[in-house]
Symmetry: C3
Subunit: 423 residues, 3 copies
């Protein structure tokens, strides 16, 4: 089952990888349509020019083809080979120019000569190509034909949304980006894991309502907040921005601005037990949509659990962040942590033992009948849970205090409820 | 005087050592009767079958004799030699059995081959013998005569109690156990030190009322709480569970569940100055009656100051925890720390200096008249006490902050009161 | 300009150095008169015998000459060579005595044989001389003529004060001592730096009112508080005791008693960025007038920023604390830190960004238009300021949190105000 899930996640990622996404346009729509084959998201369109807080929804960008040909007609850069070759939101061009002129529009990474960098220019109109530095260094003087068949026009910004109602109107919020072209860890791992989390959340009735969105970064989250902020401020009790969650290197955590919200407490508890060597970043290291969710006046309790964090691995924002950089196991590891966090938030309550003093567990078959030098340790976890189940501490605090993973406490809680010792 | 106290304590411990105590029965009564020769405790009896919170007072257990004889009639295990040889609460038996059958009822410690382990079975009826592992290994095949002349019958649970009224109805609570057979540090040191603390408390009028109990562990504290909880919750401001307080190895501290009660603050302050190398345990390491006193809904501020803590020394719960393991000095060290804690709680107040700015100590003969390079340090402690005597900090906080033991501050307070500078 | 200030400060110190100051008398008046040539202080006189809290203003002490002559008439100790030679507040004497009698009135430092110690006896009448230990050891048996032409009489205690009104009646309080004779770091550096701070404060309109005093230590601050306490308790929001601020060794910080006042927060913030290796003392290490300002019931938020702290450098309270021990650069370093602290307190507010979500800095020319792998870091400081500018955190907290010096934030604040993003 979970092996199947791993592979299904990786398959979805492979399917989405070749599409040329940006913050608007057909690539985003195609991506949302494929996700809709897995979960019933609703696709929203917000028109270009719409004011969203301090921003304006930009023109829609689409691209059909792009290349640079040398004077012999050889395509030395070809968008169809890799969509990172074109600067995102490039304006159209069809012109023969000198190498010196071309150079002004080229982007490459001298320190990573075989990687194509990922570059965008959403809010200033320009055109450009991204190229391996090793290739760039071999370009000879002469004429080049630069061709970009793109279009910048009034259109709309697209995003996907699904609301899964629970018993409570209080919400857990999940957000993933669908605006990067062929980049695997940052960011296709995000919508892929979010899609499978959605399937899992839908698989049984839940205590909380779930709000899950698939949006372009920054302008998407700002647009979404401008439409939903009041309701979200009222209802969202925890949230996770899901990005960079598909590689095999390590686990990372980036706190909310407040740092001690329910999301933070759940994330730290689960990571501490599952992956105690995880990397703990500061809110100062933020860089994705948690910037908007935690901004002054918005102040939603949104944190990030990641594998290798954006900006912190060499492959980041280059063509090396590809299908080899992520793996079924990598994706599943991230998915698993987020499932445990959601499980924990669903189960988190203030438990209270029903009797005064320690209960007599022996008469209920929960305690050894023979007291020897070591027998006291055998039921230690249960006794520790009971000692702190005083109605003032929630499950996270008890687990942190007695140093027992919550998944082991779920069993203890079941046993104690069964013998009517717990509310 | 204190040398006499040391020896008197050790003498009492020696007197109580041979008695076969359990959680009920004649051994407990005999123990309480001897303690009553020192201090006027009242002895209470609670009948078997009485419901106490989640528990029931068990049948009373008494034992006259027990042994195992080999087929030649040699006593190879003899209760009269050491009362640890019989599993506590063993049912009567008188039967000849094979070695293979006997083995099922034997308890020994392979890693401590010369020690008799201490084993009980209070809440399930069974019988058994405890034996040195070295002896057990030499048992030969054949018939054995097992004989236990014990009785399990409706009777009562016995405990001792003394209330020493003070000026205030607010109480300091002391609790010691009297349910272990011939075991010295855990636990006869407890009732012995508690007895001498009681004598000392009685020796002069006190600010607080003292509630001191001598009870069997667990069922005794639960029984006592079931009768006195409301009053204790109203009045008890500090409490100490007194156990494992008679050996010479180290000092230990186990906090209350809350960790910052008056008992904790006093214990930490005194131990920090008297025995800075003391061992600090967590509430998760608890194991004696502080479990009941700190349980949810009971929540009394009870902490433990010990020498070598139960479960943490190899001799624990074996015949090696004997009269050699404890000493007059060991007992006196524990007694002394508890006296200082009680002294501190009796003297703890929020002091307030009477004048604004620093007082002129010089005109009162409390300050050197010549100001030289070093004279400032000589009255530093007094000046520091004054600096923090602002009516918001109690003595413990001032002592902790200025790093001066409270017993040195008592003198300073006397001096300042004498010159009318302190309220 | 600042080079001029350095030299001007050192020149003022040199001018004040030879004067024989004490807690009262003509030396203090002469000192205040020279300071008055720089800044318009008002000079107050409080008569001897006046009760000030627990103290009484002492008699006024003046001295014209003093020496010890050997039997050949050679001056072996001469007050006119160094005013430290006479114990402060010495009573007059004119007498021939034996060496053995003279020895009872001599003070020297065996471990610093070439230094003259600084000794006073304000509150008990006595006379004495201070001498280099090396010289003392060479004194031969015989008669000595001891001569002190001093006078202890009813007079007054003098102090200087200047109030510089600001927009708010809330006050920043600065205090410096003017009671030590020829001692440079402790303490002439104090009134010198305070004088130049006053000039700088006067140089432009200020938000806060400034109360600056030049007073004798202890009796001066007590006297001043006895006259001004109610107003100061109402208005003073921050204060600095300015002493030991002229040498080149290190920077030091001594907290207020509370430890987290506005003065403490400003001092720690500025020192952390300017001189991260600064020495952090405890309030237990106090020794100057912060003792009075922080005393119970007074409780003003007064802290100290120093260079080498009193009592912590070998030259302290000896003739080695002279014009060579301080320097123009040393004085300027201390002056500069205090200016930055005052700047910070003047600018400290709770800022609030005007829009929801991150503002679009790009359209205002504050953000790079091309998003590349590294461009995110370039405007990081501004984005971090915005992230925390939520109206609940003051500038100090934001600076501490995002680890950016306040002087860099002043620029950012200006930019954001210019584009109307900040209140």
């Amino acid at each position: 089952m979970s092996s199947t899930e791993k592979e299904q996640m990786y398959d979805l990622l492979k399917k989405l990888f070749p599409i040329c996404r940006s913050i608007t346009g057909e690539g985003v729509r195609e991506t949302l349509k494929i996700i809709k084959e897995y979960i019933p998201i609703k696709i929203h369109e917000v028109p270009s020019g719409k004011k969203v807080f301090d921003w304006t929804v930009p023109k829609e960008w689409n691209i059909k083809d792009a290349y640079v040909k040398d004077d012999k007609g050889n395509k030395i850069i070809d968008f169809k080979e890799n969509n990172l070759h074109v600067v995102g939101y490039s304006t159209p061009i069809d012109k023969k120019i000198d190498l010196s002129e071309l150079e002004k529009h080229l982007h490459s990474l001298p320190e990573q000569p075989d990687a194509i960098p990922y570059v965008t220019s959403y809010y200033k109109e320009r055109w450009g190509f991204c190229i391996q530095h090793s290739k760039r260094e071999k370009l000879k003087k002469g004429k080049y034909h630069v061709f970009i068949d793109s279009e910048l026009k009034d259109g709309s910004l697209s995003y996907g949304e699904i609301i899964i109602p629970g018993k409570s109107e209080k919400e857990i919020f999940l957000s993933a980006n669908i605006c990067h072209p062929s980049l695997a860890n940052n960011e296709l791992s995000g919508p892929v894991v979010a899609t499978f989390l959605t399937k899992w959340i839908q698989s049984k009735p839940r205590k909380y309502t779930y709000r899950i969105v698939f949006i372009p970064e920054t302008i998407g989250s700002i647009t979404y907040l401008s439409k939903n902020l009041n309701l979200m401020k009222k209802n969202v009790i925890a949230g996770f921005n899901i990005t960079c969650i598909g590689d095999d290197r390590l686990y990372s955590y980036l706190p909310s601005k407040k740092g001690d919200t329910l999301s933070d407490r759940a994330a730290l508890n689960v990571l501490n037990f599952k992956h105690p060597g995880f990397m703990k970043y500061s809110y100062l290291d933020r860089g994705s949509d948690e910037r908007q969710y935690n901004s002054p006046g918005v102040d939603l309790p949104v944190t990030s659990i990641m594998r290798s964090k954006y900006g912190e691995y060499p492959e980041y924002h280059t063509s090396l962040d590809n299908l080899d950089f992520v793996s079924p196991e990598g994706l599943y590891g991230g998915y698993d942590i987020l499932k445990e966090c959601i499980n924990l938030i669903e189960n988190n309550s203030k438990y209270k033992i029903k009797c005064l003093c320690e209960p007599q567990l022996g008469k209920r078959g929960l305690y050894p009948t023979l007291s020897t030098k070591s027998s006291g340790k055998q039921v230690r976890d249960m006794m520790n849970f009971i000692a702190y189940a005083d109605g003032t501490r929630d499950l996270i605090e008890i687990s942190d205090t007695i140093n027992v993973p919550v998944w082991e406490l779920y069993e203890i809680i079941e046993k104690l409820k069964k013998v009517d010792l717990l509310d």
